[in-house]
Subunit: 230 residues, 2 copies
């Protein structure tokens, strides 16, 4: 928590939120108890951590331990190479919004998706169409959607949205108080336009979430070799 | 060579150039003989392939086999965390320019470099300073320098120039007929601004080289897992 290594003052963790994916293999119940014991006040729930659970019950349990649910992670994955696939993705995102509402999560992080072999332009169009299709449901449920740009090394199969500039352009295309961006420095640190884009997101009121995570040199696995914090 | 898989017409290889790094472990002599036998007319020489050789002699041998030397790869790596390190990099780039001139290579590809732990802004400033320092030597030797943007997954240690937009901005900062860009689709394919940037480079006369290379899904090694062509 303290990058300088000094022990002079206890860190203020009251605004820190930890993602359950960071503390795998803890269950969501175990994570909530341990984060709370450490003085952390926020939790982001990986959707798979809710499997076999009633989201509303889990949400109450989390709040009872003194934590706020900051977000549900993740929605998205809109592109598909068939119309049926794209319709299924939209249904799945509506279900994710319902789950967030039941959990009491005010925000869903969107990992937007991409289809290998399909042009990025096409995947990007399908992402915009998918978000437009689910945005009314999000607004009705009172759940915000945060587009998270992913590192360009994931543009083939995980997200065709790879810069904060692209994410912000999507928000400008569909202006809504329910649509914004989630910035993960792991995905965006290399971008020479990052500072000005963060400032623009701040001005436009669309900066919904910020995730801190180190990049390792060398990185030996493109998915599982993140540095602290995860 | 033929992406459609049809065999109707022999491919025209007269404008194709192959990089010796693609056909490791062949020596430069072996590569020249085999490329020529296959009807390829151009060769890019990896600098390490010249070790222990007289560049002028190797250049003659390549031309005698019917090939043109398209470029010498690579110069660059300008950033360093000490002034001595940066001065050494500039000396090394001047030596690389002399080697290109002796070889008869009209072009050097620049992999610009980055220092892990140093800010990207600082590395980027040192890259601009380094190029400015060697550009007069390149011009005097009649050797062009081509800035190659590298994929953002290499921004930590290999190059802080990660988009064609950044490379083009450097060229605009130091306008010279001896400074341009080399585009490798492996490094740039993910960029939503790629098409307009390529068009702008064309208009500005700075598009010096184009490298074709596939991205694999999944990519299992960040350095050594390129698809065809290498």
């Amino acid at each position: 928590m303290n990058r300088t290594g000094t022990a002079s003052a206890p860190a203020d963790l009251s605004r820190l939120c930890i993602h359950t994916a960071t503390t795998r293999p803890w269950t969501v119940e175990e994570a909530a108890a341990r984060y709370a014991a450490a003085g952390v006040k926020g939790i982001t729930v990986w959707r798979s951590a809710l499997e076999g659970r009633d989201a509303a019950v889990t949400g109450r349990l989390i709040r009872d331990s003194g934590l706020s649910v900051v977000s549900l992670c993740r929605g998205g994955f809109f592109p598909a190479d068939t119309a049926e696939g794209r319709a299924r993705a939209i249904d799945e995102n509506r279900a994710c919004i319902d789950e967030a509402a039941a959990l009491g999560a005010p925000l869903i992080v969107l990992v937007c998706g991409a289809v290998p072999g399909q042009s990025l332009a096409e995947s990007r169009r399908q992402i915009a169409d998918g978000i437009a299709a689910v945005l009314p449901h999000a607004s009705a449920a009172g759940v915000k959607l945060a587009i998270e740009p992913l590192h360009p090394m994931y543009a083939d199969a995980r997200s065709a949205v790879n810069t904060l500039g692209q994410a912000r352009a999507l928000c400008r295309e569909m202006p809504s108080p329910w649509l914004g961006v989630a910035i993960d420095v792991y995905h965006t640190w290399w971008d020479d336009r990052l500072e000005e884009e963060i400032a623009a997101c701040g001005r436009e009121g669309i900066l919904f979430a910020f995730h801190i995570c180190d990049w390792r040199t060398p990185t030996v696995d493109m998915l599982e070799d993140r540095g602290l914090r995860g």
